[in-house]
Symmetry: C2
Subunit: 187 residues, 2 copies
DNA sequence: TAAATAACTAAACGCTCGGTTAGTTATTGA
DNA sequence: TCAATAACTAACCGAGCGTTTAGTTATTTA
């Protein structure tokens, strides 16, 4: 055999993910990735193939981090109020010292143009659909409404998430909390 | 004196604005701007100074376009329902053939990182505050609520706009309309 | 009509981008 | 212990970036 890797891929990809999360895809350069991940370009390319590859893995890593919140939501027995708690969890998740970095998926959906890489587009769509399904399952249990109404409500919460994500980048914590309260006023 | 300009700055900046709107700041290159604006790099730089300058002027141009909707909202006597109409107007404004391009301001707020140009950040903040003030004025007239409640409601609509903007890039027209209806259910 | 001036064209600037590759170092098992 | 092998370093690649500049063309006015 031969020499061992001096880094663990799961560790360095998390660092890459944080860089993309904070700065977006285009603004994040290979140079920045080298510095943040603490490994050479060669190692990045032999592990992940391309900048796109690093990004795709970063989305997977992001998914895992967010899944902690999602799993808590899934386990919740509070119905719609569980979603409200999830929203509160999310603003803690997305915020930083002063302004937030939003949701990596939403940020990317807002950044990319119509000609963007299809794999990235696909990853975003899958992600969105998965979260929507979680909302649907909760709403089904919680209410006696028919499928159409449930799906509309799920879309409503999903789009609210998009707003919340963007908002963490611009608004104060108080404003975000107030927004959440307003969403659930009549739910 | 000397030779006349063969283009009107207001005309070419609108074309630039559309390019930024569709593709974002980073993805839009000077080469693309040359092609879309129909003028040479030299002319772009002599008129606008830099890529950043073109973008800053593009935001002004975007403001003017959106002001048509805002002015209609200001003139409306329907109170909160006027805001609802404005939301409907906005999704027409932001949508394209299949998916939408969102709001240039929201797109940019989502794209830029913490180290982005201060002028751009300032322009985004100003823009957001102006729209918020319009919401506040309408809510003041419409309701007897105190200032704090009014501001919270204005923030709520503002953040809903952010969500709507992102959503035009991913969701169908029906989903967007359904989202608007849900927002105004209890208003 | 000719000097002055500003807008044009197009080539080039230095730099950074994402990505590659030649050569070195460390670990392995025979 | 030593050949085989894989991970390392670092220099380098062509392309494209935003920006500048030298040289040409059109318009103005004295």
């Amino acid at each position: 055999m031969a020499r061992k890797k001096e880094y663990r891929e799961e560790e360095v990809i998390e660092k890459a993910m944080n860089l993309f999360w904070r700065n977006g895809y285009e603004t994040t350069s290979m140079q920045m990735l080298e510095k943040e991940m603490g490994i050479n370009k060669f190692s990045i390319y032999s592990s992940f193939g391309s900048k796109n590859g690093v990004f795709l893995e970063s989305i997977k890593c992001y998914k895992q981090k967010l899944n902690k919140l999602i799993n808590k939501l899934k386990a919740s027995e509070k119905g719609v109020l569980g979603i409200k708690e999830y929203f509160y969890d999310f603003i803690e998740f997305a915020r930083e010292t002063e302004f937030g970095k939003g949701c990596l998926v939403t940020n990317t959906a807002n950044e990319i143009g119509p000609d963007a890489d299809e794999k990235i587009k696909g990853a975003l769509t899958n992600f969105t659909n998965e979260v929507k399904q979680v909302f649907i399952n909760i709403l089904k249990e919680d209410t006696s409404k028919d499928d159409k109404i449930v799906e509309e409500q799920a879309d409503f919460f999903l789009i609210s998430m998009f707003g919340l994500s963007s908002a963490t980048r611009v608004f104060s914590k108080t404003q975000l909390e107030n927004y959440i309260e307003n969403i659930f006023l009549n739910k």
